[in-house]
């Protein structure tokens, strides 16, 4: 029986939705067309600590790797890392993914932690929010910078203290010299003061004598000196 063009078109129109429905039923019943792995996304804010090939582990057991990282610009820039995970270990929805270092100097790895309460098994293309432990390299770098700054500070203090020591020594010496000089001045001044006072007394008696002479013989006093000069 040869089918007309209309009949073929109608057949396709009816059969295609039926196939889609059957496919939906098969997938809903849990049959998977995929292999023994499942691809899930890891959402991270930056990719400083992960790269293509980063291991994915569950309690230390390797279950997969990151196979692709792509930037996402909406709503803000973040990254989706595609993790291909083996199905041989049960990973549930609501699990968490912690990005951490294997050891002090090791490569980073992603540790999947299952929720306490078991739920649905993780499905294809699920998105897990990546929780990033602070990067050990960054901590070490920052500690290194801090120590370097501290060493510089200690050097500065050391220089300051050395300089201060010599300065203080010089200051004390100068101070001792100053005290000696002051003592000498005071000692010398004591003699001079006596002499000055004696001299003051002599001057005072001379002036007293002059005043008395002036009082008795004012004219003689005035011309006495002139006569002495003429002599």
């Amino acid at each position: 029986m040869k089918l007309s063009k209309n009949e073929i078109r109608v057949a396709v129109f009816i059969i295609v939705p039926i196939i889609i429905i059957l496919l939906f039923v098969v997938l809903k019943l849990g049959y998977s067309l995929a292999s023994s792995t499942v691809d899930v996304y890891l959402k991270v804010e930056n990719i400083k600590s992960i790269k293509k090939g980063t291991l994915v582990k569950v309690k230390g057991y390797e279950v997969g790797r990151i196979i692709e990282i792509k930037p996402v610009y909406k709503p803000t820039l973040h990254f989706l890392a595609l993790m291909r995970i083996k199905r041989d270990i049960e990973i549930f929805e609501d699990c968490s993914a912690i990005i951490q270092n294997q050891n002090i100097i090791g490569e980073p790895e992603i540790e999947i932690r299952n929720p306490e309460k078991k739920g649905e098994l993780i499905s294809k293309a699920s998105v897990i929010e990546g929780i990033e432990y602070v990067n050990l390299d960054t901590i070490l770098q920052e500690a290194h910078v801090l120590l370097a700054n501290l060493a510089d500070m200690v050097d500065v203090f050391k220089g300051i203290s050395l300089d201060s020591k010599s300065n203080i020594k010089l200051l004390v010496t100068n101070l001792a010299n100053s005290v000696t000089t002051l003592n000498q001045i005071l000692t010398d001044s004591q003699k001079d003061i006596g002499l000055t006072l004696t001299s003051f007394r002599k001057t005072a008696s001379t002036l007293d004598e002059i005043s008395r002479e002036l009082k008795k013989h004012p004219v003689n006093f005035l011309f006495k000196g002139k006569k002495d000069d003429e002599k």
């Binding site: 078109r9 109608v10 009816i14 429905i21 939906f24 039923v25 909406k74 293309a125």
Partner: protein, 255 residues
């Protein structure tokens, strides 16, 4: 006035009941009909109701999917539920709008055409000629159209849902990035067997009711000038009944 309306409504129900019974009785004579003749009518009707309506259904599905997603991406973040876009699409498009809008498109496009065609055939005495030839006109005219409508509406609903989802996705990715596989997984998870069964039930009920009511009004006119009156009546009443049935099915199966 009110009693006359009630009486008219009651007579209408009685006539429609008689019409349905006559169709059921006419199934006795199905062995006298050639399969090829029914098959050809069903194929032509499926082409007109289904294939020819696909561009209209697809374009409306894209627009509705896009509109739903625009509203969702605008308002969902306010409630912190932006991850439920797939669920919203399934809820609105697959459960309610898909079957309902598809049914409305079929009613306005094919239902009115069926009524007009049968009314015109009646006025041209073509139906009378068929009866003179001993052909059961109820079976010959109504039955293939019911089969065609069931398949057409079922396929159109599936197409509407798929195109609506994809349209929604395409609109959604302009504002927020969702991996296509993640989106499909969400939609798959949200779309349950219950939704599938309800889609099948709705497509079957609509597929039976739309040609049944349209044919009923197609047989009614007794003059040419009555054709537009009955076409209009057929469209309006079918739309009203479809809304009623949709609400009843949703209430029965989702409550």
């Amino acid at each position: 006035m009110i009693s006359r309306k009630i009486s008219s409504f009651w007579n209408g129900i009685k006539n429609f009941n008689t019409y349905i019974i006559s169709i059921i009785i006419s199934f006795k004579s199905i062995k006298h009909l050639r399969f090829r003749s029914i098959f050809t009518i069903a194929v032509n009707q499926t082409k007109f109701t289904g294939i020819d309506a696909m561009p209209l259904v697809a374009s409306i599905a894209i627009l509705i999917g896009g509109t739903v997603i625009i509203q969702a991406t605008e308002n969902f973040p306010k409630f912190g539920i932006e991850g439920f876009i797939g669920n919203l699409l399934v809820l609105i498009i697959a459960r309610e709008l898909g079957p309902l809008i598809t049914a409305i498109i079929v009613i306005t496009r094919s239902g009115s055409a069926i009524t007009t065609e049968i009314a015109t055939q009646k006025q041209h005495n073509e139906i009378f000629s068929l009866e003179l030839m001993g052909i059961d006109t109820k079976l010959y005219i109504v039955f293939p159209r019911i089969i065609a409508s069931i398949f057409s509406i079922f396929s159109l609903i599936i197409i509407f849902d798929i195109v609506g989802f994809l349209g929604g996705y395409l609109i959604a990715v302009t504002t927020v990035y969702i991996p296509i596989d993640n989106f499909l997984t969400t939609v798959m998870d949200a779309f349950s067997f219950e939704d599938l069964v309800i889609t099948l039930v709705k497509s079957t009920i609509y597929g039976i009711l739309i040609p049944l009511i349209s044919c009923y009004y197609g047989f009614m006119p007794n003059a040419y000038f009555e054709i537009p009156i009955y076409v209009s009546r057929a469209v309006i009443r079918t739309v009203w009944i479809i809304f009623l049935i949709n609400a009843l099915i949703s209430a029965m199966l989702y409550f």
